[in-house]
């Protein structure tokens, strides 16, 4: 375990996020034309890809103090830790021993996965609804990287990716959005239905196959070919804005029609979080979601949203173990988690 220091704080983009849209992320998939795609390449070629990308990174003006981490050198908890912080994907965290790396920029805004499904997955994450900024920065980093690398590109199909679902721009624009009022009022299906009709995907916050946890959803584009990056980004932003309005309306209605019930539910969530001696990860997410809603609609005025953001990540299993500096069993984690929550909520309120 080697991330004790990093584990005590969350990244800045998350800490300062107070809105319904928590964060915006842009991912660009790129491959080197001289090598087979990751799943089909020889081990020594993958090592060369890591070396080439690492070297080019060192000269990149956006990645001056970047950490270059060889995933082979990390234990399971370290890799899960990076996943919990959204710096690497679930897939990238699996299969120990493969030639894989992650390059993490200053403030954790930029991360580049090397030898994930594609040779490069350039990711930029910004606070709130800000996909345009995220795309601009990702593109600038890409421009500099491109000077030192030979990208697989076709005039006709655009950037060539391992999976045909990413061909073209190689772009995935996604937003993490908190929709508790739509879930409580059972209107969420209408939203998700409309989103999918607009050729967009909805998933839980930790990517493929994960459950929507704590009323957090990730909305992203499905189509990467035939539309320009600006058009894709604009479509996702527009969808996010509409969903946000819908959530606001649901919140208003809850406040006018069910104020006492909602207030009760939020106060109970606060009570449990402040006094529990042992608490699971799932229960924590549910209660934090209620508290966040309370803070947003002024029913829990004393709660600082950045504390809630912090708890969202610091209470995840690998974070608790990095903080403790040792492997913990699930019941041990539940006790540590409850203690951490009590401490954070008492200090800040």
């Amino acid at each position: 375990m080697r991330f004790k220091e990093m584990a005590s704080k969350v990244s800045q983009w998350l800490e300062k996020s107070k809105e319904i849209v928590i964060s915006s992320r842009v991912r660009l998939a790129r491959n080197l034309t001289d090598f087979s795609f990751t799943h089909w390449a020889k081990k020594e070629d993958l090592a060369k890809v890591v070396e080439k990308v690492s070297n080019v990174t060192k000269g990149n003006s956006y990645l001056k103090n970047a950490l270059i981490i060889d995933l082979k050198e990390l234990d399971d908890i370290d890799r899960q830790f990076l996943m919990e912080r959204h710096l690497i994907s679930r897939e990238h965290a699996q299969d120990k021993g493969k030639e894989r790396a992650v390059i993490i920029g200053d403030k954790e805004i930029i991360s580049i996965m090397v030898n994930e499904e594609d040779h490069l997955r350039i990711q930029v994450t910004e606070s709130g609804l800000n996909l345009i900024e995220a795309w601009r920065l990702a593109s600038k980093i890409d421009n500099e990287l491109e000077k030192g690398l030979n990208y697989a590109y076709s005039e006709k199909y655009g950037y060539l990716t391992a999976c045909p679902t990413n061909t073209g721009t190689g772009l995935r624009a996604s937003v993490m959005i908190h929709l508790p009022a739509l879930v409580i009022s059972r209107q969420i299906n209408k939203v998700l239905d409309a989103v999918s009709r607009a050729n967009m995907a909805v998933r839980g916050i930790y990517g493929e196959g994960t459950q929507a946890q704590g009323d957090l959803f990730q909305i992203s584009n499905e189509i990467s070919l035939g539309e320009s990056e600006e058009e894709i980004v604009e479509h996702v932003e527009k969808a996010a804005r509409e969903i946000m309005e819908y959530e606001k309306r649901a919140r208003k209605r809850l406040l006018t029609q069910l104020k006492e019930e909602i207030k009760d539910s939020i106060s109970r969530a606060y009570g449990t979080l402040c006094s529990a001696y042992t608490i699971s990860s799932a229960e924590t997410l549910i209660l934090l979601s209620k508290l966040r809603l309370g803070a947003n609609i002024d029913l829990a005025k004393d709660i600082d949203i950045s504390t809630l953001n912090e708890l969202l990540i610091l209470t995840r299993p690998a974070h608790l173990q990095e903080i403790a500096g040792k492997k913990l069993s699930a019941p041990e984690r539940d006790v540590k988690r409850a203690a951490l929550i009590r401490e954070k909520l008492r200090i800040k309120t």
Binding site: H39, R203, I223, E227
Partner: protein, 187 residues
């Protein structure tokens, strides 16, 4: 390889499950592949127990990979012949591609062009890239003039055969390609 569902029969079809909007590949025998659509729904529901009919709604009109994506090539060429096509550069065969839904190298896009283009069109609604162009595009990847000629020939054939949907796609693609070449001062 054996079927990932029953573990008894030889896996013959890759079935793409769509979980939370993402593709996951499972290798199944014929019998299990047939049953997979129904089961996939059940599994997805267990991911989202609080919204039981979410996925049935979202994916009701979603094409199942195995039936829709691969259907057109099965009609045109006999399956054994497609399976045997191999990328000269990386050695990936079409049946390898079907197993993982991942291509082997950039050359694969050329090797499996006939199979890939209808697939890209199904996924994205287009096969012509419209976005960013790297500053140093090697000359060899520019679209050759012949390609537009070839597309126009295909268009005429499609019109002759009264395949109007195909013709409309080709017309859009020719337009998009010509617009792109004009913008960059020729191919």
């Amino acid at each position: 390889m054996l079927c990932e569902r029953c573990g008894k029969e030889e896996a013959t079809v890759p079935v793409i499950k769509i979980v939370g909007g993402e593709f996951t590949v499972m290798h199944l025998c014929d019998k299990c592949a047939e049953e997979a659509t129904g089961e996939g729904k059940k599994e997805m529901e267990s991911f989202f127990p609080s919204f039981p009919d979410l996925f049935s709604k979202i994916f009701s009109d979603f094409p199942s990979f195995h039936t829709e994506f691969f259907a057109p090539f099965k009609e045109k060429i006999k399956p054994p012949e497609i399976e045997e096509i191999k990328c000269p550069r990386c050695g990936l065969s079409y049946s390898d591609f079907k197993k993982t839904f991942q291509l082997g190298c950039s050359q694969c896009y050329e090797t499996f062009k006939e199979q890939l283009e209808p697939m890209l069109r199904r996924i994205h609604g287009s096969i012509i890239h419209k976005g960013k162009v790297p500053s140093k595009v090697p000359v060899k990847v520019k679209i050759p003039k012949d390609e537009i000629k070839e597309m126009k020939k295909k268009l005429q054939e499609a019109v002759k055969k009264e395949e109007y949907e195909e013709a409309a796609h080709l017309r859009d693609e020719i337009r998009a390609t010509e617009a792109k070449q004009k913008k960059r001062g020729g191919g």
